[in-house]
């Protein structure tokens, strides 16, 4: 028996080894095209799920953004803009100007915002609201809603009283009464 054959196929092979080679040789690797498993297509059907998830997440984010923006605009405070107008120096009387300049000369370092006179204040209001806290359009809507509410309550009250009267009153011929007590 020559062991070299087992290592590098040199030398004389053993007949038993040759037989084994012949038997096992049929199972050696043979190149052939890849066969996909049967369930591969089944799995591909669910490929839309990640896309759906991304779309849903985007939709949620968009919704959250809209809600946040609405909440932000509703709670935005009034903007108050002060416009400071300094009168032109030519219109001021020279004697007055002299008097005015005197204190300035005493403390020139603080002659900034403190000496500026505010002649006009522009308060920008988003909506002018009366005591009820409603704007003009909201108030009109509220009055309309109040009218409808009264009509609805009138009918509800009337029909409820009718039901009570009919349930408690004398039975008319052919009348079926059925009153349940609750509570």
């Amino acid at each position: 028996m020559n062991d070299e054959y087992l290592w590098d196929k040199s030398g004389e092979p053993d007949p038993e080894v040759q037989q084994l080679e012949q038997v096992l040789g049929r199972l050696r690797y043979q190149p052939r095209p890849l066969e996909m498993p049967d369930n591969f297509r089944e799995a591909r059907r669910h490929r839309y799920l990640p896309l759906l998830a991304i779309a849903a997440t985007l939709a949620l984010a968009l919704l959250a953004g809209v809600v946040w923006l609405r909440a932000r605009t509703d709670s935005k405070p009034e903007q108050r803009n002060e416009i400071a107008i300094t009168p032109p120096s030519s219109t001021v009387n020279p004697s007055e100007k002299k008097n005015e300049e005197q204190p300035q000369s005493e403390d020139n370092s603080t002659s900034t915002d403190r000496d500026r006179k505010v002649f006009a204040v522009n308060v920008q209001r988003r909506t002018r609201r009366p005591a009820t806290g409603l704007s003009k359009t909201e108030r009109a809507e509220a009055i309309e809603a109040k009218k409808e509410l009264i009509v609805a309550l009138r009918l509800a009250s009337e029909k409820l009283n009718l039901a009570q009267k009919r349930a408690n009153g004398p039975a008319t011929p052919g009348q079926i009464r059925n009153q349940h007590k609750i509570g």
Binding site: L134, E141, A142, L149, A152, R154, S157, A163, Q175, N178
Partner: protein
């Protein structure tokens, strides 16, 4: 690895579904009934009252009710917690303008255990009156009144906590005409004699 990705990507879908389901469930719990199928009767009716006041409008309307006027203050107190008032009322100049199916479609929405029928008066001569309430514990959180006559059909749906006694007492106040119907009071001994 792929299955992990799939699981992670399914989470937002589940969140969206959960939001939709919870929103639908919340809507279903409200004691509001659908009455839009009655709208076709407006074309036949000589007089139609169609009131749709949701919670937002109720809250806005409350702001213009005066606290100084006792009648208005009373109504304001009554409607303060309401989530909506919906009324459809039709008056016809001829008989049988609406069908029993119209009333049944309302009645079918008022099933137990969500709704309890408080009053059911049926008459061949006079009007049929049904009062349903939706109870939350011992308090009423929804009301439906259905009255049907040969030439009139009225459905009132109040959503939210409502005091039936106070509502019945409203007649006669704030321009609401008093029809002279007395609320039943317990009889005194003298009355019994």
């Amino acid at each position: 690895m792929r299955s992990v990705f799939q699981r992670i990507s399914i989470i937002p879908v589940l969140v969206v579904l959960l939001v939709i389901v919870s929103a639908t469930a919340g809507h279903a719990q409200e004691p509001r009934i659908q009455m839009s199928h009655l709208d076709y009767l407006a074309a036949k009716a000589t007089e139609t009252v169609d009131v749709n006041i949701d919670e937002r409008l109720v809250q806005i309307a409350i702001k213009v009710f005066s606290d100084k006027d006792p009648d208005e203050a009373q109504i304001k107190k009554l409607v303060a917690g309401l989530k909506g008032i919906y009324v459809k009322s039709f008056e016809f100049d001829a008989d049988n303008q609406f069908s029993a199916a119209d009333v049944d479609s309302i009645r079918n929405q008022l099933r137990e255990p969500a709704w309890s029928r408080l009053v059911n008066v049926r008459s061949k001569r006079d009007s049929n009156v049904e009062v349903y309430v939706s109870l939350s514990g011992t308090s009423v959180n929804g009301l439906v009144v259905i009255t049907s006559e040969a030439r009139e059909l009225t459905v009132v749906n109040i959503v939210g906590p409502v005091d039936l006694e106070k509502l019945a007492h409203l007649e006669g106040s704030l321009g609401i005409p008093d029809l002279g119907i007395e609320i039943t009071k317990p009889k005194t001994k003298n009355e019994d004699q």
